[in-house]
Structure formats: C-alpha cells, structure tokens
C-alpha cells in the first residue's frame, strides 16, 4: 500500500491537536498513514504512542529548536524530508491558519499541487480523489492532482472515519535549518478556559445567535439554550462584529461551515453568507421576529416571534421533556 503523509499539528506545549484523528482516519482510506511531526528536542518520542493508537503505522519526528519558535518552516522542512524518505502518494494537511501555509509552500517546493478544503477523500483506479463542498454546500466537486505530488488540505472536523490502532514505527531525525527569512512567533496566547461545551466544528447540534440578541449580556440566552440541548454555540458575523462572541464562533461563508443534525438560528436574518455555513444541516430551526426573514426559506421549523419570549419557554419545555423522559 502507498504511503500517505499526514502533518500532525501540535500545541505550544507539544500536545497533539484535535485535527490528528481525522487526518489519520482519512489517510487510512488511501494507504498506510505516516504521521509527520516537528517537535522540540527530546519531545518527539512522547507523541509516537498516541499517534500509533490513532492509526499511524510510521511516525517521523524532526526535532529542533525552531519548532514552536518559527512559523511554518519547521513543519515544511520536516514534511519535505519525509516526502523524500517515504515517497508518498499524497500528503494530507489540516486546512487551518497554521498548516495551510505549509501546504502551499510544500506544493511549490516539491512540484505538487493543492486540492483545497476537501471534506472527503477516496482512492479510485489508483488515483487519489478529493471531494469538496463549495459555495456553501450548493455544489459537490471532485478534483485530483495531475503531474505531481498530491497535497490535500482537509476541512477541520469534516472526516468522521477513524483508523484502527497500530504500533507505530518511530523515526527521529534532526530538523534541518531554516532556509528563508523566518516569521518568528513572539508570543503564544492560549484561549480562555474551556467552556465545557462541544466544539463548533463537527458538533451534532449547534445553537447560533445573531444581531437580534442585541447585546453581549443577552447572548447568554443562546448559551442557555445550547446547554439545554447539549449543543455547541455559534454566531453570525454581525454578532461577532458587535463583540458578543469571539470570531471563532462565526458560522458562514467566511467562518466555520457546520453540518449538524440540528441547527438553531436565534435572531439571525439568514443572509446568504450565513446560510453558506449551515444550510446542509439536517434539521434547521429558526426563531426571528421578522416574518420575511430569509432564514425561514431554509428552516424546517420556523417561529415568527421574539427570542426573549420564546427561548426561555423553550428551555423550560426541553427541561420538562427531559425530566419525563428520565422517568
């Protein structure tokens, strides 16, 4: 079976980020998963066990002082060395801010091309095909790379498949020196305390709030309904712009694209750019006081009403239902 390289993202403390299981799961659909990590000296061996449990057959660690201090270069240098060592049929990289730079540079460096933002991959007659969901899920397209290395950036949270656990064979090599002027990481800011809610990407239920919530204080209502449903919290761009929530909550064309079992839109008008990030949800519920809001065009269940009246009643009804169901 062909080798498939996967770039493992690590946190500032060297831990494996949440993108790894999906990337290795995707690689296992195509061939033998080889995990590639750039790590600080002496820290690589520690991650090999966990990467094996996630399904990596080989773990290639390039260790050097630059890892965590310089942006993208350590990962690029590690992957370039791994491409020579493993002659892979494809390289899978998370479509995240940190990692897609590596994908672009690797394509130029190795004479490859990038299939961008894939939501699925498959192998067909010896060719590796990337499946994309474009224009807010209006279209599904398939693409592949001709005449060079296949590099695929994978949309975070989109791959559900997981690989069977393996005992990874570990290779540790020194990280080669940087070869172009570096972008230096001056400071790492960790996000605030964990909210205990499901992550937005890949969530099975999402409750989002828009400008209709009116203030940051009122936005708590969105969180309360999310907690009653066990859902992740999302937002429209207008709610983000108004400072109700951080940008990482944004659902839509330029935010996160979600496809949950249930999507609840509160005080969101349903602009086309918002719908682009949620219209492939299985069931959509909308509460909006404007009867003509475009969000109702995609809602399976719409309530023309005031969120401040309806949502507290809804939370009560959900809690009551869960109480009876528990008996």
């Amino acid at each position: 079976m062909a080798n498939i390289l996967v770039l493992i993202e690590t946190s500032s403390t060297g831990g494996i980020k949440a993108s790894a299981p999906g990337l290795i799961g995707a690689a296992a659909q195509l061939g033998t998963p080889v995990a590639v990590v750039a790590a600080a000296p002496g820290t690589g061996a520690a991650v090999a066990g966990e990467l094996g449990r996630l399904g990596a057959a080989h773990v290639y660690v390039a260790e050097g002082e630059d890892a965590g201090r310089i942006l993208a270069q350590p990962q690029l240098v590690a992957l370039t060395a791994a491409v020579s060592a493993y002659a892979p049929a494809a390289v899978l990289i998370s479509n995240s801010t940190e990692s897609r730079e590596v994908a672009g540079r690797l394509a130029i460096r190795t004479g490859g091309a990038v299939a961008a933002d894939a939501v699925n991959v498959r192998s067909e007659d010896g060719r590796i095909v990337a499946v994309h969901s474009v224009f807010g899920g209006d279209y599904t397209t398939e693409s592949w790379v001709r005449d060079g290395l296949t590099i695929i950036t994978i949309r975070p949270g989109s791959i559900q498949e997981r690989a069977a656990a393996a005992t990874a064979e570990l290779t540790v090599a020194p990280l080669a020196a940087a070869d172009f002027p570096a972008a230096i990481i001056e400071q790492v800011h960790e996000a605030g305390a964990d909210t205990g809610r499901p992550a937005l990407r890949g969530a099975t239920k999402v409750v989002s709030g828009g400008r209709g919530l009116g203030s940051k204080d009122n936005f708590v209502l969105v969180e309360q309904l999310a907690d009653a449903l066990g859902a992740a919290v999302g937002a429209s761009r207008a709610a983000v712009d108004a400072g109700y929530v951080p940008q990482s909550y944004q659902v839509g064309q330029t935010g996160v694209a979600v496809s949950p079992q249930l999507y609840v839109a509160l005080g969101i008008s349903g602009a086309i750019q918002h719908r682009a990030g949620m219209q492939t949800s299985k069931t959509i519920v909308a509460i909006n006081k404007d009867e003509d809001s475009p969000i109702f065009e995609v809602a399976d269940f719409g309530i023309v009403g005031d969120v401040f009246t309806v949502v507290p009643q809804l939370i009560e009804a959900i809690n009551a239902h869960q109480l009876t169901a528990a008996h």
Partner: protein, 256 residues
C-alpha cells in the same frame, strides 16, 4: 515603502453563485463580479499606512479576465497609485500553483517591500496562494493577521489559531495576508474617482512574464454536482404556544 496588494475579482456573495456542471468551473456569467471584500480590506491596510507615510507607493496586481479592469479602477479610486493587470486567455481556469507563479513573476519585475493579500478568496477559498507566492519569492509569510503593524524593516501582528492566537513578526520584505477582521475599507470619494482615471494600468500577458515552459503539476476538477435546493418547512407565528410546539417537533425527531 512599496506595497503590492494582490486583488481578485469574485462573484458577488450576495447572490447565488453557480458552477458550470459540464466543466466544473465557475460560471462567471451567472452573477455580478465584484472586487473581493477581503482584498479591499488588504488595500485599506496599505492605505492607512500611506495616510501617515505619504512617500508610500501602492500597486494593485490582479490576474483575471478583461472585466477585472473594473476592480482595478475601484482600487485606484480608493487610493492605490497604479495597477498591473495580467490578462491572457491561456491563463483562464488556472489552479493555485499557476496563479501563484504568475503573480510572483509579476511581483518580481517591479521590486517591493511588502506584498499584501487576503487570507482566502470568497470563491476559490483555497487560502494558499499567499503562501505559494511567499515560497516562490523566498520570503516569510505572516498569515491571517487581524491587524498589521508596519515599521521600517519589519511587520508584525496577531493571527488566530485553533486554541488561541500567536503574535508574529517578520523582517521586510515579506508577504502578509489579512482576515475579514482587518481594516474596514473606505469608500472612494469623488476626487479619488476622478484621479483614478489618470492613474496608470499596465496590462501584460503570460509571454511577458518569465515563467519557463516546463510542465508543472496542476489541480484539476473532475466533476461537479448540484445539491437539491432546500424546501422551507413549517412556519408558525408565536401566540404563546410556539415554544411548546417546537419542543414537540424536536422530541418527535429525537433531537431532545
């Protein structure tokens, strides 16, 4: 300081955008074509620097069909000094590698201190053209900055990542991409619109760029299918019982 801003024209996101199902490519006739909002923000970041440092020169660069002159004119009326338009039928349906090679070759001809781009376009959404350009030019990239701080000799800013953010800095020359949180673009004023008519727009074709003839890898689209449109479901007006009805709907669909 010389700043090159990479701009792309895209189908207006306020309308339905279409893919030609036979070629898998963008159907450019299906919607209005506008300058990408993200690139207006990139230009705005450059203009704010120029507001304080008058000697700054801003060049906008696009690769696109004839109609892209409209986008360039808008950028010039906002305050860019000159424009370069790479237009050639042979470049239609370019993938990202090809796009980056063409843009980098054009950037290299003129000299620069900073290249500014959007973090991702609203149509292709690949988000790797800036990195490819940086790699070809042998330069650092500061990706997805919400705001940038430009000083003599270096550029810095903050980029959001999963689980937090990073403060990053690079020496000039460098490539920077900005997010939709960056500078909101100004509107062109009357004086700007009049002045834009006299500003130089250089057009060039593929042959005038030093691209070589060797075959390069390419990303190709195999097939495209359209998802059936979503139909609207039940819509009720709240009379005090809507929340109960919704809870019933959620329960019957096993969502609570």
């Amino acid at each position: 300081m010389k700043i090159v801003v990479l701009v792309k024209q895209v189908p207006d996101t306020y309308e339905d955008r279409k893919i030609d199902l036979s070629s898998g490519l963008l159907d450019r006739d299906a919607s209005d074509i506008v300058p990408d909002e993200i690139n207006e923000r990139a230009l705005e970041s450059a203009l704010r620097y120029k507001d304080g440092q008058k000697a700054t020169e801003i060049v906008v660069l696009t690769m696109g069909p004839d109609s892209a002159t409209k986008t360039l004119r808008k950028m010039l009326s906002m305050g860019a000094d000159s424009a370069i338009h790479i237009v050639d039928d042979a470049l239609a349906a370019s993938d990202m590698v090809q796009t980056a090679r063409v843009l980098a070759a054009a950037i290299q001809r003129g000299g620069f201190d900073l290249v500014l781009a959007g973090n991702e376009s609203t149509d292709g959404r690949g988000g790797v053209v800036p990195a490819m350009v940086a790699e070809i030019l042998g330069l650092p990239l500061l990706p997805s900055l919400d705001a940038l701080e430009l000083e003599a000799g270096s550029v810095s800013g903050t980029c959001s990542i999963d689980g937090g953010s990073l403060s990053v800095r690079a020496p000039l020359p460098a490539v920077v991409s900005v997010t939709e949180r960056s500078a909101e673009a100004r509107f062109p004023n009357f004086k700007g619109i009049m002045m834009a008519k006299r500003k130089p727009v250089e057009t060039m074709d593929r042959a005038s760029l030093d691209l070589g003839t060797a075959a390069v890898a390419a990303s190709v689209v195999g097939s495209a299918t359209k998802r059936p449109a979503r139909a609207a479901g039940t819509k009720i007006i709240d009379d005090g019982t809507a929340a109960q009805e919704l809870a019933g709907f959620l329960a019957s669909n096993r969502l609570i």
